[in-house]
Symmetry: C2
Subunit: 346 residues, 2 copies
């Protein structure tokens, strides 16, 4: 590919403030250790599995249901179920932490411990074991998006929940333990570190330039596709090769305020992007994450917080440099990835 002749470049993104090193030459290095990523990471999906608790007919093997789509009294079979996670990282029955202070359980200055209160839910995206999210039609993916939004709205009502992280793992190398198409959401009693970093970075850009980091794109080079409400881009300083961000074109701070029309539009674009990644990269393992504003931020934050959905194909393993420095090495320039994805028919 042409990019192999380009020289390295370091770029800092305007959302997380991360530096990323773009180095096409790195992709030519040899290896005497086998790659750990299976060619087809979702093998295991496909064939219906008699023991899968997420399949239609095995609902009783799951943790309690929170709601389903379509909702009763509609008696037709469910298309989406939102259920409790049977092995929750945070527990809804724990005592919510008090607003207050530092110091509880400190082992050294500045450390802090709180009881593991929170909500950990699973969204079963389809009753069928052999259907992947992008096998649904646009309206089907839109309904999944609406189910996320509805559950976030419910969790928002709980005074101790500060943030809800919506995410999807697909394929073992992306962390998935279950093959049946699903996503998850964790409502946390604290604002997670990346969210704080993101808000601080976007605030700093806004203060300096008077602009939201995500409202403007000067460059058409990184655009993959556009709909009425959303742009899909490979971000200028993408941490991962072929990473995609889907961003509302109108400034909007909270994902959960999405309406039905927008959800359908997002469903359509998300579907296309997942299909493109699957086609171009041979059904890679991937994660997606929704980045939104924490609940109850002051209104002065709203002008610079702008929600988006990040899709990350997992093509290589991160090493000590990334873990230590927080800086990523990406062998594929975003313009090149965007061009490939843009020109791909899906």
């Amino acid at each position: 590919m042409a990019e192999a002749s380009r020289t390295s470049e370091a770029r800092r993104d305007a959302v997380f403030g991360r530096w990323v090193v773009f180095s096409p030459a790195r992709s030519r290095r040899p290896t005497d250790l086998k790659s750990h990523a299976p060619a087809n990471p979702s093998s295991g999906a496909g064939a219906p599995k008699p023991s899968c608790p997420f399949c239609q007919g095995r609902e009783s093997e799951c943790a309690p249901e929170i709601f389903r789509v379509p909702a009763p009294p509609d008696a037709s079979p469910w298309r989406i179920r939102v259920i409790e996670n049977l092995y929750p990282a945070l527990r809804r029955d724990a005592e919510p932490p008090e607003e207050a202070g530092e110091g509880e359980g400190e082992a050294a200055p500045g450390e802090r411990a709180v009881v593991g209160f929170g909500f950990h839910d699973v969204v079963i995206e389809t009753p069928r074991h052999d259907v992947r999210l992008w096998d649904l039609d646009a309206a089907g993916v839109g309904d999944v998006v609406l189910a996320y939004a509805r559950r976030v709205q419910q969790l928002m009502e709980h005074p101790a929940v500060k943030y809800v992280q919506v995410f999807k793992n697909h394929g073992a190398s992306a962390g998935a333990s279950m093959a049946h198409s699903h996503s998850q959401m964790l409502g946390t009693p604290f604002v997670p570190p990346s969210v704080t970093t993101r808000l601080n970075c976007m605030k700093e850009v806004f203060k300096r330039l008077g602009k939201c980091s995500l409202c403007e794109f000067q460059s058409k080079d990184i655009l993959v596709s556009e709909t009425h409400n959303f742009s899909a881009i490979v971000p200028f300083a993408a941490s991962y090769p072929f990473e995609i961000w889907i961003i509302p074109r109108q400034h909007s701070s909270y994902f959960h305020e999405i309406d039905k029309d927008m959800a359908l539009d997002l469903g359509s674009l998300l579907r296309t992007m997942l299909a493109k990644l699957s086609k171009q990269l041979n059904d890679p393992p991937f994660n997606f994450m929704i980045h939104t504003a924490p609940f109850g931020v002051s209104s002065s934050c709203l002008p610079y917080t702008h929600w988006f959905l990040q899709i990350v194909p997992q093509l290589s393993v991160i090493g000590g440099f990334e873990i230590g420095s927080g800086c990523y090495i990406n062998p594929v320039f975003p313009e090149d990835a965007a061009k490939i994805l843009r020109e791909l028919d899906c």
Copy 2:
């Protein structure tokens, strides 16, 4: 294990300001996808490999040597070689970026691009393909530590280098592409994001409590081992199961100021910790990273920056929650991991 009956807890560490969720129950969840981590990640190592450029006798297949140990005129065979990386992420022959401003190559407000200048070196820790770092004796590991320090001192002389990240990848699932025992170092023209976060967090603790986050441990529960100069602990809010930090007991900001005696002492403790992890976890893939202060920080930062070495066994894959939120889920409480490692004979 006893910890499976404990309930979840969330802890925030005082160095990176990260929240970590401890959830022993999570380790019981089922999976219908195979784990991607091979049982023995370093398979490939062991048998000398005729084509390995890091082996004795194949020096001419490597990128240029920077220095070796022992240094000429000592004519005995080399024990350590520091060489240029043949596929560097950052290039020493690129034009160093100017100190100045923002705006170069921006695609949207606040983004920034600079040419990919920097240094990317490899430390070959032994001439033998079948020797792992912890197979060396304490003095041998100490010499590797001194080689790191010496190269960092050299890179520090370059005015455009702001930070040097020293790191080691062992095993394919920890990112290693080469099996022959080695580590790497990247000198960057910017201060990496995790370093900025760490300094800000430690500064905030220092301002609030007047104490360095790493000078005091109240709790003996997390201690694994101690030498005259160093403590090895499983940190109170460890992001990864069985993560270990080796911390100088005397406050010290810069790793590269380590002297010969301290390096020998560190070599001995690092050797023991790697042997313990290998024994307890069946030769797991791992990374280690040295966290130090950026070059030329103002003297007001020195009271709260304290260097340390972080060892991270790679036992599970991170998923969308961690990538999105920056918050980790760890199924093993640090006190439990520390007790196991402390009691292990190595």
